[in-house]
C-alpha cells in the first residue's frame, strides 16, 4: 500500500512538473516576436543596430521571467517535493500503525 502511494506521489510530481513547463510557450512566442521586430528595425535602420540589440536582449530577458517561474516550479517538483511528500507519507503511515 505504501509503495503504491509512493508511486502515485512520484508520478504525479513528474506530471505536475511537465504541466508547469507549459509556461515555456508564452516566453517562446513573445521572444520570437521581439526578435522579429528587432530584425525589422535593424533592417530599416542598420545604423541603430547596437541600440536595438541591447534593448532587445534586455526585453527578452524580462519576458523570460514567466517561463522561469514555470521552470522553478518544475525543478522544485522534481528535486524538492518528493523528499517533503515522502516524509509526510512516512509520518502518516507511522501514525496509522
Amino acid at each position: 500500500m505504501v509503495e503504491l502511494a509512493m508511486g502515485i506521489m512520484l508520478g504525479l510530481c513528474g506530471v505536475g512538473a511537465g504541466i508547469a513547463l507549459i509556461a515555456g510557450i508564452g516566453p517562446g512566442i513573445g521572444e520570437g516576436q521581439a526578435v522579429a521586430a528587432a530584425c525589422e528595425a535593424i533592417g530599416r535602420q542598420p545604423e541603430a543596430k547596437s541600440d536595438v540589440t541591447s534593448t532587445m536582449i534586455m526585453g527578452c530577458a524580462i519576458a523570460e521571467t514567466t517561463g522561469l517561474y514555470g521552470l522553478i516550479i518544475g525543478i522544485l517538483l522534481i528535486f524538492v517535493a518528493p523528499g517533503i511528500f515522502s516524509g509526510v507519507l512516512k509520518e502518516t503511515v507511522l501514525a496509522l500503525k
Binding site: I57, M58, A61, I62, T65, L68, Y69, L71, I75, F79
Partner: protein, 323 residues
C-alpha cells in the same frame, strides 16, 4: 571619484619625494602583492572549505548550497551558515581587493593601465546611471556598480568550481528586498499620504491588485536572477552526468581508456560559455538595469514639488512668527 584621486595624489607625492626610489618601488610592489593575495585568498579558502565538506558521491548530484554550520539558540530557527553566505562574503572581500588594487597608486597624470581600467569603469557606471536615472539620482552609481560587480562575480565564481551564490534564492531575495526598500523610500519622498493614495489608483477597487503588484517586484527580481543561474547549473549537471553515462556505455569495454569519461571533456565547457558566462553577466546587467528603472520610475515628481513648496511656505511662516 575625482576628489578621491586628487587627495590620493596629493598624499603620495610628498612621501615619494622623501624616500629613495628603490625602496618606494619595492614597497609599492609589496602592497600590490598583498592586494592580489587579498583577491585570491578568499576564493581559495572557499574552495578548500568546499573540498573539505563535500561528501563522496557517485552519479548525478544536484543539490543546493551545503550547510557548513548550524548555530542553535536563535528565536525563529537555528541560524544556518551555508555555502552561499560564505561564498558571497568571500566574493565581497575579493571585490574589495580588486578595487584597492585598481586604485592603488593613482596619479593625476594617469597613464598606468590599471588607472585607465578604473577610470573606464567609473565613467561607464556614471554614464549608465545618468542616462537611465537622470540628474536627481546622482550618487546611485556606487550602489549600481556594487550590485553589478557582486552579481557578475558571484555568477562567474562557478567557473573556478565554487557554488555560485546567485544560484541560491536567499541571496538574490536579499538583494531584491534591498531594491524594494529603496523603491519604497523613493516613493515616500512625496509624503506618506501620497504613498498611500498611490494604492487606490486609478479607482479604489484596484487596491488589492496594487498591493499584489507592489510585492511582485521583489519576488520577480529575485526569481529571475535565481532561476537563470540555477537552471544553468542544473542543466550543466544533467548534461555532465549524461555524458559520463554515455561514455561508460560506449567506451566502457576498453580496458584502461574506458575508465576515463572521455566524452565529458570539452562539451560541458562550450555549454558553460552560455550558461555561466553569458547568462550570469546578462542577469547582472538586467538586475542593475531594473534597479535603476524601478527606483527612478517610482519617484513622484509632482507630489515632491508640492511638498517642497509647502515646506518652504511653512518655513517662511515660522520665520515670520519668530520675527
Amino acid at each position: 571619484m575625482t576628489e578621491f584621486k586628487g587627495e590620493k595624489g596629493a598624499r603620495s607625492s610628498p612621501a615619494s619625494r622623501g624616500d629613495a626610489p628603490m625602496t618606494r618601488d619595492s614597497r609599492f610592489r609589496l602592497v600590490d602583492g598583498l592586494l592580489i593575495a587579498l583577491m585570491a585568498a578568499p576564493l581559495l579558502c572557499c574552495l578548500a572549505l568546499k573540498v573539505l565538506f563535500t561528501p563522496e558521491s557517485e552519479g548525478v548530484d544536484i543539490s543546493g548550497a551545503m550547510i557548513y554550520l548550524t548555530v542553535p539558540g536563535f528565536p525563529l530557527q537555528d541560524l544556518v551558515i551555508t555555502e552561499s553566505q560564505i561564498n558571497s562574503w568571500a566574493i565581497m572581500l575579493s571585490i574589495l581587493g580588486l578595487c584597492l588594487y585598481l586604485t592603488h597608486g593613482l596619479t593625476e597624470k594617469g597613464g598606468t593601465k590599471r588607472q585607465l581600467i578604473a577610470e573606464w569603469i567609473v565613467e561607464k557606471c556614471e554614464g549608465l546611471v545618468s542616462a537611465n536615472m537622470g540628474e536627481r539620482f546622482a550618487g546611485y552609481e556606487y550602489l549600481i556598480a556594487a550590485i553589478m560587480a557582486l552579481s557578475a562575480l558571484s555568477s562567474l565564481s562557478c567557473l573556478i568550481g565554487l557554488f555560485a551564490p546567485t544560484g541560491d534564492v536567499n541571496v538574490t531575495a536579499g538583494w531584491a528586498i534591498l531594491v524594494f526598500a529603496l523603491v519604497t523610500y523613493t516613493k515616500l519622498q512625496g509624503g506618506f499620504l501620497n504613498y498611500l493614495k498611490g494604492f487606490t489608483e486609478p479607482i479604489p477597487v484596484f487596491t488589492p491588485m496594487n498591493f499584489i503588484s507592489e510585492f511582485s517586484l521583489p519576488v520577480s527580481m529575485a526569481f529571475r536572477h535565481y532561476g537563470n543561474v540555477m537552471s544553468g547549473a542544473v542543466i550543466s549537471a544533467l548534461i555532465g552526468a549524461a555524458l559520463r553515462g554515455l561514455s561508460k556505455t560506449l567506451l566502457g569495454w576498453i580496458p584502461v581508456i574506458g575508465q576515463i569519461p572521455l566524452l565529458q571533456i570539452g562539451l560541458p565547457a562550450i555549454l558553460s560559455i552560455y550558461f555561466d558566462v553569458f547568462s550570469g553577466l546578462m542577469q547582472a546587467f538586467i538586475f542593475a538595469m531594473l534597479t535603476m528603472l524601478n527606483v527612478s520610475g517610482s519617484f513622484p515628481q509632482e507630489a515632491w514639488e508640492k511638498r517642497q513648496e509647502r515646506k518652504a511656505i511653512r518655513k517662511q511662516r515660522a520665520a515670520l512668527a519668530k520675527a
